[in-house]
Symmetry: C2
Subunit: 216 residues, 2 copies
DNA sequence: GGGTTAAACTAACGGTTGGTAGTTGGTAAG
DNA sequence: CTTACCAACTACCAACCGTTAGTTTAACCC
């Protein structure tokens, strides 16, 4: 048999990427075999090589593409936000959560299959991640510089915020109890109050509201 | 060759678990081969089967053991805490972060290799995870009932908090810039202020402190 | 419509995988 | 001091892995 009637390179390539993402998400990169992927697409395993260079390259491309889209999305959101730190943090949180809730598979793969990348590819992705984290750190630094935020260490706080926000897409289901907007609002509330609050105290404090007013 | 001079079943079994945990953490469960594991332990692959039933069972045992230890650790911390919601939340956060920073490998495996479990084992672990989450939800519910916490949805908030706290052990390094105590303090601050603050508002607010005082 | 290219196929490669069978010698209880 | 058991070994499956080679046919371009 040769080429199949109606087949199109671009369509097959897209199908491979879509199926690959889903399979890696569900079974893990190492656990997914190329025969399995090919079956999902509806072609033979060897035919995959008309569209990908290696299995490793497929993973790398998927992750890199996701990271670049994420960076672009964030730049857009931040560019549209006012100059104030609180507004920018709000914009970042909303952008991050919204984007992540809509890209569950990509997020999972990009976060938890990094170790399957070879050193070269790994370094490239880590650089992109770093660039992304830096955007949040910059917002937090701005807030600290302007006296709007009370936080201990902006980098660690950024990591904590990102972990919290990203975590949402491990349990979020579109048909679930909460709407996307509610999830965004809830996380925005947690982050804003976490950052606007007091610096962590080592001692005991009274009631929450008392502790808050102590600083205002 | 038969049994090797000085070999002991208990010691080998422990060595297998230790090496297995490290290898699964570093390379992933599917990527780790039993020959690789055996080499790390210093025996032949087939000899592993004197100590484990299957590869799958090794993973399950490692995760289950971790979850049970985590539950016990938390129970202890909560039992020692006062009855107030804020104190109990503080105790939970400190317990969780401390324990997790010390068990980086276990945490990673227990969180990200769940999909490698077959349905039976998967269900068992999910039940344990649920039980753990429930402990935090209970603390949050208590705080809401006593009017100490201002949060939207206790279950989602619990997920968000857990994601944030657990995230710490993906970047924490014992020899790093911050001490364990500082990491605990920082996360405690974020969580406490996040929970003691306002319920999330949909509109825009002024400065952070103004927003806080609006509700107090 | 002839020639080129794209995209599928079949067949197979060397290597690895988790797991089993059967054997052997050290360990320890009686 | 015997004997039963434990924990290692060697040897070997059948299945599967990612990948390559070579072939065939549909689609596209001039």
């Amino acid at each position: 048999m040769g080429r199949i009637a109606g087949s199109s390179g671009a369509r097959t390539a897209a199908s491979i990427r879509r199926a690959g993402l889903r399979l890696i998400y569900r079974r893990g990169f190492e656990a997914m075999s190329l025969r399995e992927l090919a079956a999902e697409v509806g072609i033979q395993a060897a035919s995959l090589y008309n569209h990908i260079r290696t299995k490793q390259d497929l993973l790398f491309d998927l992750i890199r593409e996701h990271m670049e889209r994420l960076l672009a999305h964030t730049d857009l959101a931040l560019a549209a936000a006012p100059a104030g730190a609180e507004d920018r943090l709000r914009a970042f949180v909303a952008s991050h959560v919204t984007y992540h809730l809509e890209r569950k598979h990509e997020v999972f793969v990009a976060n938890f299959e990094l170790r399957a990348l070879d050193p070269r590819h790994f370094a490239a992705i880590v650089a992109l991640r770093r660039a992304y984290e830096e955007k949040l750190v910059a917002v937090l630094d701005l807030g600290v510089a302007r006296g709007e935020f009370r936080i201990g260490d902006t980098r660690i706080t950024a990591y904590a915020i990102l972990a919290m926000l990203t975590g949402a897409c491990t349990w979020y289901k579109p048909e679930g109890r909460l709407t996307k907007q509610e999830v965004v609002a809830l996380h925005t509330g947690l982050v804003m109050h976490g950052c606007l609050g007091l610096a962590p105290t080592e001692g005991r404090s009274g009631t929450g509201l008392a502790a808050l007013s102590r600083d205002s």
